[in-house]
């Protein structure tokens, strides 16, 4: 998330497909395979809903394993030439993708907002610019990538070259349909691979709109998109012997299943599997009434960012007991002023959850919290909406007060539900923070730099935001400890996950070894 630009004029975008909208909507979308739009072999389509209205936006292909095979055919046809394309040229293509995304920023922002429900202020300021930046970052990374030479002895040299893996499978979640695609596509394509990508079932359309924009920029077959149910095509892709690597973001059981399939094919995997991230506030945040205190309050409220549908959602707030009442009252005041509604209004801070089932899950968890004895400090129910949005999947930003052994503190709710508790001292903060199966993200807020450093080192999570939260710049490695996954995205080290190492071990000695 980048800093919001000053106070801009409020804009209410027209819904895609309606008169005056900058987003065109076709009645039906096919798969993007080999640079062409191909109908699903089965001929079946399904409705794609808008979560703000629960009304269909369009139809998308309801694909079957045969479509995955067609996509793999196209990818295999394209991979050799793309893999041999110079780093210079590949970087040029990635930069052109970024330029195309920037040129269509508003169109893509409105598209993603309408399909996912996230507020357009977020897609305009974060999702779309960050997606473009990821392509630029990996263009730069591949352009400047160097191979290595090791002098084994005076006449023996080990050369190490990077080679692409070939064709890779990528399975994308619904919460950041375009940014997660960029996180996975940019390094894969930079490293010279062709990709077959399966978007999440609730959000297939945004990525197809992206393909409209970047389809001509990327050589045919290097990017292929197949939409459809995971049970039908997910396995057909992940277990396919024709992929050389699989990347997945989602939940733990599918993560295990993907590793199981990868084991059968002996291919690498990268996984990002969620979290239950602690956000820790030490008493010195209240030492001054200043911008930093204001930033810390916002830091807690960021649990509602993207309506809580974020793997790193700071969904457990740990507040030092000395300041609990004063700090929490400031936060509750801020939460109470969150504007919820039409995701296409730039004044809206929180939109609807992505689907009815997500809404049900959140309601169910708040019930679980109540049954466990958690106190509802704010929210705790669906948000009644009128008019066009009456059927939308809106849920109030909610805070539950309890303790870390409660289920609402242990399982990722994936909604705007914060579980808050207190701690006495640094040792207890670390104990609570690490008392979770997950280890993806964490936040630490303090004016004491030494403490911040100690905490950052002690928390078992791949990313510890220190005096900030929910920033995702390319160049900062992102990935999980414990059951939160394998691999690090948004950093050039991801190129290693998409590359093979070729070693040429060369002797310049004309004499025999003398063994035989």
């Amino acid at each position: 998330m980048t800093r919001a630009q000053g106070k801009e004029q409020a804009v209410k975008y027209t819904a895609p497909g309606r008169d005056g909208s900058g987003v065109t909507v076709e009645p039906r979308y096919e798969n993007f395979i080999g640079g062409k739009w191909l109908p699903p072999v089965s001929g079946r389509y399904r409705a794609n809903l808008c979560p703000a209205t629960a009304q269909p936006i369009c139809e998308v292909a309801d694909s079957t394993p045969e479509d995955i095979e067609h996509a793999l055919d196209a990818a295999h046809a394209a991979a050799p030439a793309w893999g041999e394309t110079s780093h210079t040229k590949r970087a040029e293509v990635l930069n052109a993708v970024a330029d195309a995304i920037d040129a269509h920023r508003e169109m893509l922002a409105v598209t993603e907002s309408w399909e996912n429900g996230k507020p357009v202020r977020e897609t305009l300021a974060a999702d779309i610019p960050l997606a473009a930046d990821h392509f630029r970052y990996f263009a730069a990374a591949i352009r400047s990538q160097e191979s290595t030479i090791t002098e084994i002895d005076s006449q023996t040299i080990a050369y190490h070259f990077h080679e692409p893996l070939g064709v890779v499978g990528q399975i994308i979640p619904f919460n950041f349909p375009l940014l997660m695609a960029a996180w996975k596509l940019a390094p894969a394509l930079a490293a010279g691979n062709a990709a077959v990508l399966k978007p999440a079932s609730p959000t297939p359309w945004s990525i197809l709109k992206l393909a409209e924009v970047i389809g001509d920029v990327i050589p045919p077959g290097v990017l292929n998109i197949v939409t459809g149910p995971g049970g039908e095509i997910g396995k057909a892709l992940a277990a396919n012997p024709r992929i050389a690597k699989v990347a997945f973001t989602g939940e733990t059981v599918t993560g295990r299943l993907i590793m199981q399939y990868a084991a059968q094919n002996i291919i690498p995997v990268t996984l990002e599997l969620g979290g239950k991230s602690p956000n820790i506030f030490f008493k010195d945040v209240l030492a001054e009434q200043d911008d930093f205190l204001d930033k810390a309050v916002e830091g807690l409220v960021l649990y509602a960012f993207n309506k809580g549908e974020v793997c790193t959602c700071p969904s457990r707030a740990l507040i030092q007991e000395d300041i609990y009442h004063e700090f929490m009252s400031r936060c509750l005041d801020r939460i109470g002023r969150i504007t919820q509604g039409n995701p296409l209004d730039t004044e809206t801070m929180i939109g609807p959850q992505v689907s009815a089932q997500q809404l049900e899950k959140i309601s169910s968890y708040v019930d679980i919290g109540r049954a466990e004895g958690a106190e509802v400090l704010i929210g705790g129910q669906r948000t009644p909406m009128g008019g066009e949005f009456a059927g939308g999947y809106f849920y109030q930003p909610t805070v539950l007060k309890g303790h870390n052994k409660m289920r609402v503190f242990q399982e990722e709710i994936f909604g705007p539900v914060l579980a808050v508790t207190t701690f006495k001292d640094e040792a207890e903060a670390i104990e609570i923070a690490n008392d979770t199966l997950y280890g993806l993200g964490a936040g630490v807020w303090t004016r004491d730099g030494s403490r911040a450093f100690r905490m950052g080192k002690a928390i078992k999570a791949g990313r510890v935001w220190t005096n900030c939260y929910h920033q995702y710049p390319a160049g900062a490695a992102f990935g999980g400890y414990k059951v939160s996954g394998i691999g690090r995205e948004t950093h050039q080290m991801m190129l290693e996950h998409y590359s093979q190492t070729k070693n040429l071990l060369v002797s310049y000695d004309s004499k025999p070894m003398g063994l035989f």
């Binding site: 979640p173 149910p229 989602g250 733990t252 299943l257 599997l273 793997c311 289920r407 990722e412 199966l437």
Partner: protein, 135 residues
């Protein structure tokens, strides 16, 4: 084998969905998922599709179909009793659907019997005590 055992019960709708899956392709297994977008979903696979490890505990059975949970998750959730149900929506991950446009959901047995039913949710009764069997 019919009936439920262990810490899992099922609504009539869930048992009907299971009967459909059994009739169409043979036995299925359930694995409790967690985390991220599809978290808390009971993933349904053909029997043997998911490779079980020593850390997977048998939570119970529904009509002969085993329901497993990661032991660490079971502890973190306080060894819950779950009610298997179906709802409209996409099946998460690679899970089999419960039927056309429906997916399986797992609810805590206590909350499922509670007074509050959120809009659009189907009511379902509390299940039997752990260890009892309707078999």
């Amino acid at each position: 084998m019919t009936g439920v055992s262990g810490r899992v019960t099922a609504t009539p709708a869930a048992r009907q969905a299971i009967a459909g899956l059994l009739a169409r392709g043979g036995p299925v297994m359930f694995i409790q998922s967690a985390g991220c977008c599809g978290g808390t979903a009971p993933m349904c696979f053909r029997q043997g599709e998911f490779l079980l490890g020593p850390g997977d505990a048998l939570l119970g059975e529904v009509d002969g179909c085993p329901y497993y949970i990661d032991e660490r998750l079971d502890v973190a959730w306080g060894r819950p009793r779950l009610v298997l149900d179906v709802e409209p929506g996409f099946a998460e991950g690679f899970s089999l659907a419960a039927g056309a446009g429906e997916h399986f959901v797992a609810r805590p047995a206590a909350a499922a019997g509670g007074s509050r039913v959120s809009p659009g949710r189907r009511a379902c009764g509390p299940g039997p005590r752990p260890g009892t069997s309707a078999r």
